[in-house]
Amino acid sequence: MTTSTAISCAGVSVFFDDFRALNKVSIDVKAGQVVALIGPNGAGKTTLLNALSGRLPQTTGRIMLGGTDISRVPVHRRAAMGLGRSFQIINIFPEMTVRENLRLGAQPHKFRFQPFWRDVSGWRDLDEKACAVAEEVELTDVLDTPAAMLSHGRQRAVELGLSLMSDPSVLLLDEPLAGVGQAEIDQTVALIERVRHGRTVLLVEHNMDVVMNISDEIIVMINGEILMRGTAAEVQADPRVREAYLGSGDRDA
């Protein structure tokens, strides 16, 4: 495992008028690590992911992907540079089949110059890439099913698959288990375990059992700031973390 930093930010703040959603947050994630962001609702976890992926412009601070400053790079260029993300709410192309979803995900990265009149189903490379990712996220059996007709857990897999189409080196996952039924949680966790190979993962998740199991490190956030950072054991043992959770009365596990 290399020890270079895959993604980092320094002094990143996001203000909504007077409200400080993020206050001078600095993190760095080493290549190959799985790092979880936890904290009570409103702690700024999703805001941090939004700032990293470029969905929300940061008010101050700098964001680095590998050795490149991406603070001012628009969302679609960050995606092309190897930053993939999934969303808390399922964010896929509902009217398209799984195959069409994945094919579309590969399109911006695989073919820069394409004659517009060529039928998209004729692009063998796109299809092969879509099939390969479908296999990775276990969607091969529903390739030609419209995405809207899949179960929630499998739509999650489409969501994850879409994030993988650009061959990202860094994956930002926003509550990958949100809304997934108990029966499908193990499958989804296995999926995350599989796609983390060769990638760096920063995820936001409320399911503590899962977080403790799959993360190398955990960052605890509260009120837009970082409270502490450590291994699962260190975080569980820290009295401040308990207070933060118990104090807010919010413990989704």
Partner: protein, 314 residues
């Protein structure tokens, strides 16, 4: 998406063939004038729906692209003395360029706000063309004597011959749009409509995609405008009216958006109702309005849904 010959495409082709075959049944001049209007407005409605039904961009200002096409064709043929083909190219260019301008001005707004912006820009263009550019547009009087094509020794002042020409162009529009919709660009545009945020997050430059949608729609609209100018042999600021933008929206919704057959059916129904009703009552527009309301309630996906049924893949 897997089949090339979708039901929607086949119905659209069938409608084109029916139109092309009309001269075998009748040679009545006024019938052909009506059919010519249907053909030209079908091209315009398809152009509008490319923007609205495919790209998910609502516009209340498509009259501007349509009218600029008509004027562009007139300028190219009458002032510059160019031929029919070059005139059409000019019309396509005028429509596309103004659409890009609208897109650039509206880069930061979406949805209804963008639609209102298109209306505003179209009205602005109308005012400028009537007052400031009178030398080029003939002001409120318009320009008469817009030429029809001349080639191959065919007399296109003969209504039937001109009709055949424009019906063939409609067929070409249907085929090119179908190919375009199935192309990588078409898929990206479908993605833009279904989930703009996701499209951006997987690496599409959605601002540029929106410009692509608008310019393609503007180009086809310009083409339709040029053909209307040639049919009437006259262009006027009437073409720039907000009513033109409203009519094309109603036609597309009536027929069924996001399809190829829908806009053609919508135009046909609209023009036929107008023709029949206006001979009985001066309140035909009101009755048309009621028909439209009933359609949106009972056939929310347009008249075309009767033919497409529940076929998901269309």
């Amino acid at each position: 998406m897997t089949r090339f010959w979708t039901r929607d495409f086949l119905i659209a082709l069938g409608l084109c063939v029916l139109l092309l075959a009309a001269p075998l049944v009748t040679r009545n001049e006024s019938v052909f004038f009506l059919l010519s209007l249907i053909v030209i407005w079908s091209i315009f409605a398809l152009a509008f729906d490319f923007c609205f039904g495919r790209g998910g961009i609502l516009s209340f200002g498509h009259a501007a692209f349509f009218a600029l096409g008509a004027y562009g064709y007139t300028w190219a043929t009458m002032d510059l003395g160019l031929g029919f083909g070059a005139g059409l190219a000019m019309a396509i260019l005028c429509g596309a360029v103004f659409a890009v301008i609208v897109g650039l001005v509206g880069q930061r707004v979406t949805g209804l706000y963008f639609a209102l912006l298109t209306l505003m820009l179209a009205q602005l263009l109308a005012i400028i063309m009537v007052t400031r550019l009178r030398r080029f547009t003939g002001g409120d009087d318009g320009i008469a004597g817009v030429p029809r094509p001349m080639f191959g020794g065919i007399d296109f002042f003969e209504t039937v011959n001109f009709f055949w020409l424009i019906a063939a162009i409609l067929l070409a529009v249907v085929v090119t749009m179908h190919v375009l919709n199935r192309s990588p660009l078409g898929q990206a545009i479908a993605g833009l409509k279904q989930n703009e945020e996701r499209a951006r997050q997987i690496g599409f430059n959605t601002a540029r995609l929106r410009l692509a949608v608008l310019s393609i729609s503007g180009a086809y609209s310009g083409l339709a405008g040029a053909l209307l100018g040639a049919l009437l042999m006259y262009v006027s600021p009437q073409l720039l009216s907000w009513k033109v933008s409203g009519d094309v929206l109603i036609m597309a919704l009536l027929g069924g958006t996001g399809t190829l057959a829908g806009p053609i059916l919508g135009v046909t129904l609209f023009e036929l109702l107008k023709e029949v009703l206006s001979s009985y009552t001066e309140y035909w527009y009101g009755i048309l309005g009621i028909t439209f309301i009933l359609c949106t309630i009972f056939l929310p996906k347009g008249v075309v849904s009767l033919l497409l049924g529940r076929d998901k893949s269309r």
